[in-house]
Symmetry: C2
Subunit: 403 residues, 2 copies
């Protein structure tokens, strides 16, 4: 089994040194443990990891209640680094992994210990920790963080089965995206930065109706029932992770339109934890004070219902945080650049970079509202964090972000 | 009668050229018309004005429902110009006039056509236009504006009588302060800048109780009765003038303390008319947008109930205005300088000038809240306006304000 094949096929992504099989096996054999709880694993052969030396990855956790796959957030993040994220070349077409020049994003669904049938048999949802192998997740994230390649299982979202593993070599930035990146304390401790995407029930419901009723023909009752069924496990196992996040993007219904329940206009909060190393929160006008700002006025004319920003210090699960909030949506480029020009600590490389990124991906969902804006900003923040960590390791001061 | 005596006694204040009595009398005799409606004038001898040439005054109107005399606002204004305002030397000790190096402030009560007894006999209040001589007010303000000295009557607040007139020579800045500076259209048109001090009924009541009940031993009922008796004429003749003001300082109860009726903590608005020549409104953070700002936070710790600012475009009697609002009060110098550092277009000559002015007069009423702050700012604005007008007349561009 060619555990180091990735070195040859994707040399640019791999900082691993070649290790002789003998010494490697003596020192570092970490087995790909087939799951202890469920037997339903496909291609469950023993695989192992390789030892690496230089450029150990910066590890980012992104928790969100949604399918993993091609997440908009991850596409925005990889775009900040200049590349595009694509599935591993020549691998399983149903792989959930996305790889760009700098970044590898894996989906934590791949650590399901129970496949779809297994979950049905045991009567547990995918949200339930019992359907997930945290020991393996921990071992493999730790290995990657130490610069070692891994043989990561694949959960096939199409078939609901566990497919044979794929080789993941350590990238510059390793993102673990899914339901449980901050659930297990050991995994959590490996994260250099963590993000929680918190979609409020109202918005989740509005989005689900839009997608499942309008596009897939589901009934309103079945949508309600599926949300209700999911809720207890979500509240028990997913939601509590947000207390550990360094940044939370919270998506709420707008307050600009009275009694709005369409879920089209959004109020989005970027909750930024204070005191996180290498993370300098974005602020509006005056750092540490409380501000509300309606940019639409004499200089900028916005269409109904306009745009409203808020910024200020707050407390979040006992942590000191700075919260930036945007309610409403952009209609035009000048609104976006006007807003960008008034935000500070963006970690942009040049004036207008946020706007440029947003325009580049104007077809992505959320490009006209706070979800896209804050995802882009978090992307810049992660780039900045990465550069600071790398510079620190190299013993040189990181180039200060320009804007 | 030595109409030009002021030339000799206060040469620094007078830009008047000496005019021979003969030519003067032939060209410019404007008689001090004894009042047409009331005969009760003291020292009603015919006096006349002198013709002047250079440095015609900039004329400012300040409307307020209060005693004229030593108004705090006027003391702040004259202080901005570096001088102190004092009653005319050697004149009537009950003169209402204040003179500094640059500024002369007259009280429009001096144009009462009915003295206290006369008003009582006719059953009119001092607020009633019928108790005031607008023709004379117009003629004399016009004369001053044209650089001519005047013989202005004096209303004696102590005796309630009309005293013999005093000579007023044209200063650099001529301020008419009182109940009716913008009532008469002709007088209004002479004003280069106008200000209305708008004290809300709740605050007026709280202040009156403080002064008349606590200090003068009046009963609550008599205070209420006197306010009620005054209100119809106030609403009919004084209040409507605010629509003409270039700047309104509105004093309201705080919104920081629920159901506060003590009137100690104030919410003060500076309503600045847009499009006024030589007047560039102050703004907070972002000109033309809507902002609210609580400066108390991580960098600045304020004591209860804190400080809250608001800024934004609005409409005021059909005019486009920019409103700056401060609720709460300063406890310490660092709060004041922090706030000053975030205001723009202050027309200060140097960073910290507003704070310096406020500290210099920390014993003046309102020095810890928005009344003092906005009076000081309006003082800077008037200095800026004056300098721009003078520079324009001289055909040179005004030195731009530094801050």
């Amino acid at each position: 089994m060619a555990v180091c094949s990735a070195h040859t096929t994707t040399p640019l992504h791999s900082p691993c040194t070649t290790v002789s099989n003998t010494s490697f096996r003596q020192k570092q054999v970490i087995f790909f443990t087939s799951n202890r709880r469920s037997g339903r694993r496909h291609g469950g052969a023993r695989t192992f990891q390789v030892s690496c030396s230089v450029d150990k990855p910066v590890v980012i956790g992104l928790a969100a209640d949604s399918g993993c796959g091609k997440s908009t957030f991850m596409r925005r993040l990889t775009s900040v680094f200049g590349g595009t994220a694509e599935p591993p070349k020549g691998g399983n077409p149903d792989s959930n992994t996305l790889i760009s020049d700098t970044t590898t994003v894996i989906c934590l669904d791949d650590y399901h210990s129970l496949d779809r049938t297994g979950r049905k048999e045991k009567g547990v949802t995918a949200l339930d920790p019992r359907a997930n192998n945290f020991d393996l997740m921990y071992e493999q994230v730790k290995a990657i963080k130490e610069g070692q390649a891994i043989e990561k299982p694949i959960y096939n979202h199409v078939t609901g089965l566990l497919d044979p593993p794929e080789t993941i070599t350590p990238p510059k930035i390793f993102v673990i995206e899914g339901l449980h990146p901050m659930f297990d304390e050991r995994v959590r401790d490996l994260l250099d930065f963590s993000i929680y995407l918190d979609i409020s029930d109202e918005v989740k419901f509005a989005w689900k109706i839009q997608r499942d009723m309008a596009e897939r023909g589901h009934s309103l009752e079945s949508i309600k029932a599926s949300i209700e069924a999911r809720k207890p496990d979500f509240d028990a196992f997913i939601d509590p992770q947000k207390q550990y996040a360094d940044a939370v993007i919270e998506v709420l219904p707008t307050q600009l339109i009275p009694d709005d329940n369409e879920g089209k206009v959004l109020r989005v909060k970027l909750i930024q934890k204070e005191g996180v190393k290498h993370f300098n929160p974005v602020y509006l006008f005056d750092e540490g004070s409380s501000i509300s700002w309606v940019p639409c006025g004499r200089k900028l004319t916005c269409s109904y219902p306009g745009i409203k920003f808020a910024y200020g210090p707050d407390s979040y699960f006992g942590h000191e945080v700075s919260v930036l909030e945007m309610d409403g949506q952009f209609d035009r480029l000048d609104e976006l650049i006007y807003v960008e020009s008034h935000l500070s600590n963006l970690s942009a490389k040049f004036y207008g970079e946020v706007t440029q990124q947003m325009l580049k991906h104007s077809d992505f969902p959320g490009s006209n509202n706070g979800t896209g804006l804050f995802q882009t900003i978090v992307g810049l923040k992660i780039r900045d964090l990465y550069e600071q960590i790398i510079a620190e390791r190299a013993g040189v001061p990181a180039e200060t972000a320009k804007v």
